[in-house]
């Protein structure tokens, strides 16, 4: 699994010697095929002819960008022109977007090769990538989950030994969670830093596209490329992440986020934090409002938005089609949606429709929005004193599939306890590997103030010292 050098090194050399690009790509294709043969289920859609065509085009291209020759895997929910894109859902089977998502466009402009779409929970609804047909397996232990919902973006990043990075998406922790479970590095940026144009929405006010890689340099390089202005996304803030050091004077751990974590996770994370104390002052804080209310507010807002986003999926213009003639459209829509949405998707649509119904809207949806503002303020208060806040990424090591099956939906939702607050507040956060417990990776999450991704970059470098 190991490679020492960063993508930057690879790109610099590739610009001088194209055979490095060819060799890396051919070997990664072999690994990809091997993972498919082993039924690790990382790949949702892969078109070798298309990939080789990109290689050919790249060879002729004289403008050599920051990601020249780097193969990228892409979470399935991000549109790639002419490549089947279905956000892990049966209902979008056969849907080939007419356009590239902005992040894909930006990556291509910098010379990246779009390798494959990675498997995920349907529409991002899940923490273990088990809410889909092809369930990906953790590269460290195939009996265990690789996390979700950008599960295979992290898993394939850990699996491959070649130069590669992955574009993931997080709504409530879907980048950090699999990064933790697969022992890789990621940054989920400030909401609005990376254009969402071309992302199949889960919950638009929460969705963030981010980068997953083998080390903080790779992650920063990819984030630098995909961030920045885009006129096609109204919520885009028009700024680019520049790879620069951010100042870190003081850090705090969020004590009450540790409470529901397993002992082994606590142990590994606190040991790592002890080592960090050599470099920087670390104190303790509590975020009581976030502990108490973030999860509820998140699920109300996320499902309210999701239930409207998914309304368009009705078998009419794209994706699966049924026999429509002679049927009332209501019956046709119901038939398609009943047959092709998973149980979890139906649960979230029903929940989200309920929370915005008249009579309940004030008590749930509107209240959750007000709570969200209070939770952001609670973070901002702490950021007056601290540059970063630390917490375990996940409350446990990757669970076995047999354990996941026994979980109730509520236990499932509670897995996102540490990741949801930063996601709800739109705050940038990273997950870096803190160590291993019995061979299973444990992640450490750092949360920075809005648009202070540089602090995460500097912190990631400190994490990688040793």
């Amino acid at each position: 699994m190991g490679r020492k050098e960063s993508l930057k090194f690879f790109v610099e050399n590739s610009k001088k010697d194209f055979s490095l690009v060819e060799e890396n790509l051919h070997k990664i294709i072999l690994e990809l095929n091997a993972s498919q043969n082993k039924k690790l289920n990382y790949i949702e859609e892969y078109d070798e002819k298309n990939v080789l065509q990109q290689l050919n085009d790249l060879k002729k291209n004289s403008s050599k960008g920051k990601l020249f020759g780097v193969p990228l895997t892409i979470k399935d929910s991000i549109c790639v022109k002419d490549l089947e894109t279905k956000a892990g859902s049966k209902i979008l089977k056969g849907y080939k977007p007419l356009f590239d998502a902005t992040v894909i466009k930006k990556a291509r402009e910098e010379g990246a090769i779009i390798l494959a779409k990675t498997t995920q929970d349907e529409f991002g609804f899940g923490t273990f990538s088990t809410n889909t047909e092809k369930i990906p397996k953790n590269p460290f232990d195939n009996e265990r989950s690789c996390g979700g919902s950008s599960g295979s973006s992290a898993a394939f990043t850990a699996y491959t030994s070649r130069y590669h990075a992955s574009i993931g998406e997080s709504t409530g922790g879907s980048i950090a969670c699999p990064s933790s479970f697969c022992g890789v590095t990621s940054i989920t940026p400030t909401y609005g830093l990376v254009s969402r144009y071309g992302l199949i929405d889960y919950a638009n006010s929460l969705d963030k596209i981010g980068s997953i890689g083998r080390n903080i340099e790779d992650v920063a390089l990819l984030l630098n490329v995909i961030s920045g202005e885009d006129n096609f996304d109204s919520t885009n803030i028009g700024k680019k992440f520049e790879i620069e050091e951010g100042s870190i004077q003081k850090i705090a751990i969020v004590k009450n986020f540790f409470e529901n974590c397993s002992d082994e996770v606590k142990k590994i994370v606190l040991e790592k934090i002890d080592k960090l104390k050599e470099f920087v002052k670390i104190e303790e804080v509590e975020l009581p409002l976030n502990s108490e209310y973030a999860l509820s507010a998140y699920y109300i807002i996320a499902t309210s938005e999701a239930s409207t986003n998914l309304a368009k999926l009705s078998g009419l213009r794209y994706g699966v089609q049924g026999d429509v003639v002679g049927k009332h459209f209501d019956d046709y829509f119901s038939e398609i949606r009943s047959n092709y949405f998973s149980e979890e998707t139906k649960r979230r649509i029903i929940l989200g429709t309920f929370t915005r119904m008249s009579g309940f809207r004030d008590a749930y949806y509107l209240k959750a929005l007000r709570v969200r503002t209070k939770l952001i303020n609670e973070f901002n208060q702490q950021f007056k004193k601290y540059d970063l806040l630390l917490t375990p990424t996940m409350p446990m090591v990757p669970p076995k599939f047999s354990e996941i099956e026994k979980m109730t939906p509520l236990e499932n939702f509670a897995m996102d306890l540490c990741t949801i607050p930063a996601n709800l507040a739109g705050l940038p956060h990273s997950s870096c590997n803190a160590g291993f417990s019995k061979g299973l990776p444990v992640g450490l999450m750092a949360i920075a103030p809005h648009l202070q991704e540089q602090k995460l970059y500097s912190f990631g470098k400190v994490m990688e010292l040793e």
Binding site: P97, D233, K312, R361, Y365
Partner: protein
């Protein structure tokens, strides 16, 4: 017994409110860059991932539509909200590509306005922006086809919904309001050409349940639909039936409304803020800038015409209630022609020809010079009223020959010398009639005038003929 005490003859109290949908005049759709020019386009050819609601696409607000909406809000004396946002109104319908409509719910662009309808103040509740759904086409007619076709070319067109309070007490009053609204909107130049305004008409009588007539196309139809519904409700009440709250549809062919569905409760659209769009923030400076760029509105123009051109209130009203007509008038004024004659020509002759042929001014070709020549002829007494009209009819609906040329070609211009000899000739040949007149039979003068007019082929002014006849006879 007076009328109000008689239960059988009590006055019916009528409450009518309108929700008017106006297409705004923008080059592109409300949330994408697709053109709004779809007149000759193949079905579904003017579409993109955004207006088809393809997964991953996102809306971006058209700033021009916001500017238009603010202008309308200001013209309707509304409060313009400094920040407003868009919401998703969710319902499943095949013409709605996302199965939700992007509209405004809590905070519209403009609210709490009014316009004056004569002495009456009609309150405007709100004006909000929203997108138009696609067009559903039923090949064998509504209810008869077992399938429908959808044309998404119109999907995403910018609509402004203007909602009034239930301030109208008759269908005619509602129609008057709609006419005035259209005049204001045409002054603002915010109306998309070739698109009809549509209205949802709400009506209740004697404080009873409200009936909504949905999606009535055109103002005449709105008045008819309301009149039919008013009569229906009165009839229902008379026979002792309770009027149910319901939605009805207007059939323009039969002139009747038919029940579409009962409405026990308000529909639940599960509104949420559209998280793909951001709040629009406007500072007062921006609003003032738009206010300062507003064109002159009908009321202002009416007053100005009165003071600037010495027109009376009535003619000024008639001119200014038709934007194009008032524009034509001012273009003629630039040529320094007589205001009174011009106003008469436009408001009486021209308008009646247009109305007769159901034409709008912008549908006919009129050259300023042609009218200017005609006005000069009138001013100099060279043409009779009858021939003014005839030349104008030919100009508008005939072979379009300029009026002056037409009058000359057909020998319809008054020639002073001819009139003199024609009168002498007529008097000579009708000695008996002259004698009768002298004996005191005044009516005979009309007979003589008729003969003169016939000889002049109607090109003389009747007043002049009468005057000259009397003069000659008494000589």
């Amino acid at each position: 017994m007076n009328e109000t005490n008689n239960p059988n003859k009590k006055m019916t109290s009528v409450m009518i409110g309108l929700e008017i949908h106006v297409y705004l005049n923008t080059k592109s759709k409300l949330f994408c860059s697709c053109s709004t020019d779809i007149i000759n386009a193949e079905p579904n050819s003017v579409t993109c991932p955004v207006c088809l609601a393809h997964p991953g696409s996102k809306p971006v607000l058209n700033a021009k539509a916001v500017e238009h909406a603010i202008k309308v809000g200001l013209a309707l004396n509304c409060k313009i909200n400094n920040n407003f946002f868009f919401s998703r109104k969710t319902y499943f319908y095949p013409d709605m590509s996302a199965n939700y409509q992007i509209t405004q719910y809590e905070v519209p662009v403009a609210e709490n306005g009014f316009i004056k309808l004569g002495e009456k103040k009609v309150r405007i509740r709100r004006a909000h922006l929203e997108l138009d759904p696609a067009a559903l086409i039923h090949p064998q007619g509504l209810g008869k086809s077992n399938y429908s076709l959808i044309d998404y070319n119109r999907s995403g067109f910018p609509l402004l919904e203007i909602v009034t309070e239930p301030d109208f007490s008759s269908p005619l009053e509602a129609r008057g309001f709609l006419n005035q609204l259209e005049t204001i909107l045409s002054y603002l130049n915010v109306l998309m050409p070739n698109m009809t305004m549509k209205a949802d008409c709400n009506i209740s009588i004697n404080g009873g349940n409200r009936v909504e007539i949905k999606n009535v196309s055109g103002f005449q139809a709105a008045e008819k639909a309301l009149a039919f519904e008013l009569a229906r409700q009165k009839q229902q009440e008379k026979v002792g039936n309770k009027i149910e709250q319901c939605t009805r549809l207007f059939n323009a062919d039969t002139g009747q409304t038919v029940e579409a569905r009962k409405k026990e409760t308000e529909e639940d659209y599960g509104y949420i803020f559209d998280p793909d769009l951001v709040k629009v923030f406007l500072n007062n400076k921006q609003i003032e800038k738009i206010r300062n760029e507003m064109p002159e509105l009908p009321q202002q123009k009416i007053q100005r015409f009165v003071s600037e051109y010495n027109l009376n209130e009535y003619e000024s009203n008639v001119l200014c209630n038709n934007f194009d007509l008032s524009k034509l008038f001012e273009e003629l004024m630039q040529k320094k022609v007589d205001a009174k004659i011009t106003s008469n020509l436009l408001t009486r002759e021209l308008l009646s020809i247009l109305n007769h042929d159901s034409l709008k001014l912008n549908q006919v070709k009129i050259k300023i010079n042609d009218l200017q020549e005609l006005i000069l002829l009138i001013k100099n007494g060279k043409v009779s009223d009858k021939n003014v009209k005839q030349s104008l009819i030919n100009y508008i609906s005939g072979d379009n020959t300029p009026p002056k040329e037409y009058l000359e070609k057909n020998g319809l211009l008054i020639k002073e010398i001819d009139l003199e000899s024609i009168i002498n000739n007529v008097l000579e040949k009708n000695n008996n009639a002259v004698l009768d007149y002298k004996k005191g039979n005044n009516k005979v003068i009309n007979f003589l005038a008729g003969l003169v007019m016939r000889e002049t082929k109607g090109s003389a002014r009747i007043e002049e003929v009468l005057e000259k006849l009397k003069q000659k006879i008494s000589e």
